[in-house]
Amino acid sequence: MSKSSARLNRRQFLTLAGAGAIATGLAACVPAAPAGDAGDGAMEDVQLQFVTNHGDVEIPFFQQVVDNFTEANPHVQIDLLNVSTEYYTKINTQGVGGDLPDIFYTRTFDVVPYASKEWTVNLQPLVERDSVDTDDFWEAEVEQITYQGDLYALPYDFSNLGVAYNINIFNEAGLEVPDGSWDWDGLRTVAESLTTREDGRTTRWGWAAHPWPWVWVGIIAANGGGILNEDQTECIMASPENVETLNFFKGLWSEGIIPEAGAMPQGVEGFSAGILAMTTMGSWATQWRRAAIGDSFDWDVTAYPFGSEGRRAVSAAGGAWGIATNSDHVEETWQFNVHLTSTESTNILISEPVRSIPGRKSSVPAWTAAAAREDLPPRNVEVFAQMMEDAYSAPFPAYWKDLETIWFNRVAPLISGGDPTLDVAESLGKFQDEVNEIIAIG
């Protein structure tokens, strides 16, 4: 069977692969699901499925944006569904099944995989037709939602990381609070002097790292290394620069400056509990941290350290919205996507409630104003938006999820600790080999 002759249309494929001969016979007796009313008239009633992957906090904002749209377009009905957990199990099942929601949340990690599987619609022609102002999006995010030169999603938010610090602890120690001009050695020195021990047991750690791989894309680049080569055809993780970087971070936990995995009791959040002087903080966590810390202590946030190359390369990733190729109403869904990612909606969804950094630059002023309105820490919250200038920008490859699995097995233990016998060069070598195997599978 040659490859080209083996291409069937989707319905045929679904029928055969999905149900098998037996169930198909049964399916044939049953009227097909009420598929999209083949709309000739533009104003025909249309029902759209809109699926997000958020929490209870965001839902009212999404509902408001939906209501704004349906008010202006009464012929469109939008069913909002929020799936907080096991989102990918659902989306992947529906993706293969050719039954995706009309519009759904795609993290910037997902855009390339979904586009390459023809699950999501190429939005480039529509972007050009309706002259969507892509200059208002962050350049780094545009790169992540682009596949083979075309946009496949419109941005919701963009996130990066800073360092949160407990001002009370700095004051007690008589140390100047950080101004963000530091490098990694600088952070280490500060963290070390804020670490306290009693009877050989650590009672307070200086800082805490984050093991997620996307966070490390930037850290590694700023130190002159890289996880993947330029065109992402090869993993170059075992380079001497990377061994040095990871050795530095391994040193942090093996010398007790940052907590080893499991050192922090489960259910306890170290920074809120005051047993971490500083921590990695995501740009999305402002409101959550405010609630979790309350008035226990004063705190603020500052920029990520510079790498050994004298530059900052801040990892950034975000959320976006893709349109399913199986949608029967791509035009209406596109209209809604444009509405959903407009400055007005972005203000409602992200800036006003101080979620992560808005996906539109024009929404940033509203975001900073909203963050300052309550006169609560972190007062320097603007630093997240400022760091976007240093955002490390590279798209996430189609095999990113596989890379994550390998990362959590081979590299995360070097960052989080647990097994002091691990050799950095050996682990990175294994990581590199295994990622290259995945790339070879294609």
């Binding site: 692969a17 037996i22 259910g267 699995t405 097995n409």
Partner: protein, 304 residues
Amino acid sequence: MIALPKTPRARREALEGYIFLLPWLLGFILFTAGPLLASFYLGFTTYRGDRSWPDWIGFANFTKLFQDDLFWQSLKVTVIYAVGFLPPGMALGFGIALLMNQRVKGVSIFRTIYYLPSVITGVAVAVLWGFVFHKEFGILNTVLELFGVTPISWLFDSRWIMVAFIIMGLWGVGDGMIIYLAGLQGIPTELYEAASIDGARRMRRFWNITIPMMSPTLFFVLVTALIKTFQIFTTAYIMTRGGPNYATYFFSVNIYNTTFMSLRFGYASALAWLLFVLIFLLTLLLFRSAKFWVFYAGEKEETA
């Protein structure tokens, strides 16, 4: 070959047999067989979840499996876990059931408490494990330190994590308790009474009455626990993502990742059907062994 029933009575019984079997038979044909066949078929293809017809590649997935280090690693840790978990799991579940079958005051409350681990999941249990396995002040290390053992990072050290997983597995044996309790109610009291008159001691009554009478229940728990244990997934998926260093990369985690992370459906199906063969053979062995130790009071002829 299967002999057809000869007498009218046997024919009638056979007809009734099929009628009672109908719920399962229909469900199997309508809802189960199709997807099973589809996944079996996909095991011989390179299907990646895209919109093209999968390429038939014969046994290539299966030959590739045997050169795949991760396949061997996931097989190894799954077998180690099963061997380490099943015997103590069976014994503990049965032990708790016997304890909960005693006539003590408040046994209803205790049974409910002992069933809690089977209904509480997620964060609350993770907090518990944090306290049990914590390197510095965990219960386990505190006890071990009395014997001079240096503290172990149970959940993050690939050399020890399997022990932690077996302990976490034992936490959930309360499910079995309820099945055992149901089984214990079916033992005729007269048997014990007769044994008491004979002056049999408790241990002898346990071995000569309780165990044989419970053997159908024990057999059920053993078979289903075996099938379930070889498919262990949730704890590893939630707590370790298969790590560190693939120390908890169980077979089902491998299948899940290959399906939903890599979207390599063909290869995942091959993995799944290989696991199926393994579980099937082990189950068959158990059924072969059953005639030596499982006693059915209602057995009419050779039953599986």
